[in-house]
């Protein structure tokens, strides 16, 4: 029902998409994969009307058409479930559902909220939600919001003439495994109502859900694979254009760490409303993974260790020193504890500052005398770390917003490495990175581990946890439910999922 013929798009001299031929039929779930920068998001934006194609034809149900704006695309039955969730927290559920189309409920210039609430209940039923449509979405859980996203897109059914084409842009990136399963069930159930285009970094999920998979590389569709024939390694090689080692989380690279007294010992610590009675030990050279669903309290544990949350009960002992209390991030940094937050763009890097400034941002006094900075020293340090972590940047003076996500992540790691942090906490360090960049991050984690740094890791996937961690702690509803020692036993994703749920 949606078909692209020879669609191209250029941004100045850069060819973003070249001669894309692509179609999706009703009842079909089509996967779209590609490395970052392969043109996925450009393609999606063209489908969704945010960009216009330079050449080529777009057909809906065989009729030629064009999408002048997202609004226009929506009226023609194109819906999009966004990667970063697109619900507006201060609006009610129903307002979110019908955002941009309130006109349908207008009576004498005023919105008839009763009618809207009724319509909302009908839409929510489609995704199996029974919830008060007057509620603000800020109060909902992640997975509830994801379902409402979907309901919002499905609400287009009544609005467009034909059937729906629904774009799912990384819908699982913020969901836990069980929620992903739920979502996939729902999508499968809905398949007779719409065609789906499923875009994800997680190849296994794409293979699991899609009927066909398109592989995009450098703005071109390089392959189209049916599900039956889909093999991860094959698709990956198409994506990167070379055979790569799919076992990038190989266990053999993981060296056992030398036994030592713990660097960090969390003892029965609780933060009200976030987690309760968590205990864990982290040793020098150890990679300790925290696994759990979204909202299980993993992130809060990291933040508590970093002094951002106050502990209500229990205690955290750093470096075996019972008298060392860390009550602020500042104290954490001064005591060689580093933290790479999940929201790279908001909390990780300073986008409008250059690489050198980012690297030294947590150790300024070391590069200053009488409060004045020694820039030569600063640049020297930056150059050294750019080399050590092979950060791809024109120079140390380049602003960070001009680097790719992976290189930005390296800059953040360089920041903590260069201060000599002994404990480094990583929250989803590979989130949103393409395969090549992920590999870099993995090797850095291993390198840090062998350098004797204690790493507390919240992994992006189970495979990462299994592949990187020496120990895995499973957290559920703010409590420790299971511990795995990966050196002693072979852990499978199944073990982790069954512990989590």
């Amino acid at each position: 029902m949606l078909e692209f013929q020879n669609v191209s798009k250029e941004f100045g001299p850069v060819k973003a998409l070249a001669n894309i031929n692509f179609k999706v039929a009703k009842g079909e779930i089509v996967g779209l994969v590609g490395e970052n920068g392969a043109g996925k998001s450009t393609l999606m934006k063209i489908i969704f009307g945010a960009y216009q194609a330079d050449s080529g034809i777009i057909l809906i149900d065989g009729r030629k058409t064009r999408f002048s704006s997202p609004r226009d695309a929506m009226s023609k039955g194109i819906g999009m479930v966004f990667q970063e969730q697109s619900l507006i927290g201060n609006l009610s559920i129903m307002e979110n559902l019908f955002l941009g189309r309130e006109r349908e409920f207008q009576k004498c210039g005023l919105i008839d909220f009763k009618k809207m609430a009724e319509a909302s209940r009908y839409q929510l039923a489609k995704v199996g939600l029974d919830i008060d449509p007057y509620m603000e979405t800020a109060r909902l859980s992640f997975s509830q919001r994801q379902l409402i996203e979907l309901a919002k897109v499905l609400a287009l059914e009544e609005r467009s003439s034909g059937d729906l084409v629904i774009l799912l842009d990384e819908p699982t990136s913020v969901l836990s495994e069980d929620e992903v399963t739920l979502l996939f069930e729902l999508v499968n159930n809905l398949r007779e109502r719409a065609a789906f285009i499923f875009v994800s970094h997680r190849l296994d999920e794409v293979i699991r859900l899609s009927d066909r998979i398109y592989v995009l590389k450098d703005g071109e569709l390089v392959d189209e694979v049916a599900r039956e024939k889909a093999v991860a390694s094959h698709i990956q090689s198409k994506m990167v254009g070379r055979e790569i080692d799919t076992e990038y989380y190989k266990q053999d690279d993981r060296l056992p760490f030398a036994p030592s007294p713990p660097l960090l010992s969390v003892q029965n610590a609780s933060v009200r409303g976030r987690f309760e009675k968590i205990s864990l030990d982290l040793h020098a050279g150890e990679v300790l993974c925290l696994v759990g669903t979204e909202g299980s309290g993993r992130e809060a544990v990291l933040r508590a260790v970093f002094g951002m949350h106050k502990i209500d009960n229990g205690r955290i002992v750093y470096f075996g020193n019972e008298f060392l209390k860390i009550r602020s991030p500042n104290a954490a940094v001064e005591n060689d504890v580093g933290y790479m937050p999940r929201e790279r763009k908001i909390e990780g890097i300073f986008a409008s500052m250059n690489v050198a400034e980012n690297i030294t941002s947590c150790q300024l006094p070391a590069y200053a005398r009488y409060g004045l900075l020694n820039k030569a020293m600063e640049l020297g340090l930056a150059d050294e770390w750019i080399k050590r972590l092979s950060v791809k940047t024109p120079s140390a003076r380049t602003d960070c917003n001009r680097l790719s996500g992976g290189n930005q992540q390296k800059v953040v790691l360089a920041k903590w490495r260069s201060t000599g942090s002994k404990i480094i906490m990583l929250d989803h360090p590979t989130r949103g990175l393409d395969i090549g960049a992920k590999e870099d991050v993995y090797s850095m984690i291993r390198e840090m581990s062998s350098a004797g740094i204690g790493l507390l890791l919240i992994p992006d996937t189970f495979e990462e946890a299994i592949g990187l961690g020496h120990n895995i702690v499973v957290i559920k509803d703010g409590r420790t439910v299971e511990r795995f020692d990966c050196l002693k036993q072979k852990v499978t994703p199944f073990d982790l999922v069954s512990a989590m749920t």
């Binding site: 970093f306 951002m308 602020s328 991030p329 500042n330 104290a331 954490a332 940094v333 001064e334 933290y339 937050p341 929201e343 908001i346 909390e347 990780g348 890097i349 300073f350 986008a351 409008s352 500052m353 400034e357 030294t360 941002s361 947590c362 300024l364 006094p365 200053a368 409060g371 004045l372 900075l373 820039k375 920041k415």
Partner: protein
Amino acid sequence: MRDILKSNYHWVTLFVLVILVGLVDSNFWNVKSLLILIGDIVPLFIMALGLTFAIYIGGIDLSAQSMANMITVIASLYLASLGLWIVPMCFLVGAALGGLSGLITTRFLVPSFISTLAIGGVCYSLAQWLSGNRALYMDSEIRDALFGWMLSSTGIVPNTIFVGAAVFAGALLIERRSTLGRRLKAVGSAELAAVASGMRVSRIKVMAFALSGGLAALAGVIFAIKLSGGAPSIANGFLLPAIVAVLVGGTPLTGGVGGVVNTLVGTMIVAVIRSSMLYLEVEATHQQMVFGIVLIIAIVFTIDRSKLSIVK
């Protein structure tokens, strides 16, 4: 090349203005009169420098004008007893009150728009109380002995320019070379990242407002010395031009971009626009409107909008 041009739009705007005005009346290009023009804008410039720090971290300081008002009163009252110490003392008073606004903002999460406005009200009341609601004047002998040099010229260069340059150098040093400046930049460009890098963000923000207050006070002192007196409303008319100077220079209110060099250019743009009314012989009743329109055009040219994701 385009990038270079883009990040220097404020310079281009300034030069275009200077050239345009000079084409109409070549007297404008007289070096001596330009120097005098610059010399006179120094108090406003110093206040704008202070505001730059507040705006740089994404806040605003609306107390600057009342602060300067109050300081003219304090300077006039205590010049005789404190002598040269009047300068650091006024700076400290300003920094303390500015810091207080910052503290209210960071501690109680009152937007700086409101907290500084309110502290400005307090300053105005203090100024009225201290002055007994009268214009005060300094003992001219003491003023001439201590600060007479500031009002004369070296060659054709008014000495106030050196004062302005010194303060500017200090501000530039803080912005570019000091840890404080770097931290301000960090807080301005990504406050949460600054927290996650272990910076004491609240303290840094308080410092920004303290700097703003201190520099506003310094502007007040220089203004008082220049006028040889003070009054609770004498610095009125400073605030909006100072904010405009910062903005026209290309430091947007979103923080993290721009800086004191931009403010230097912005202040000169304001000075040129203002005196261009005279050189272009804009009719009296038109002046304010023309100022507004030229301002819009200047802002259109100076803001590098590529760095703003959403324009609010």
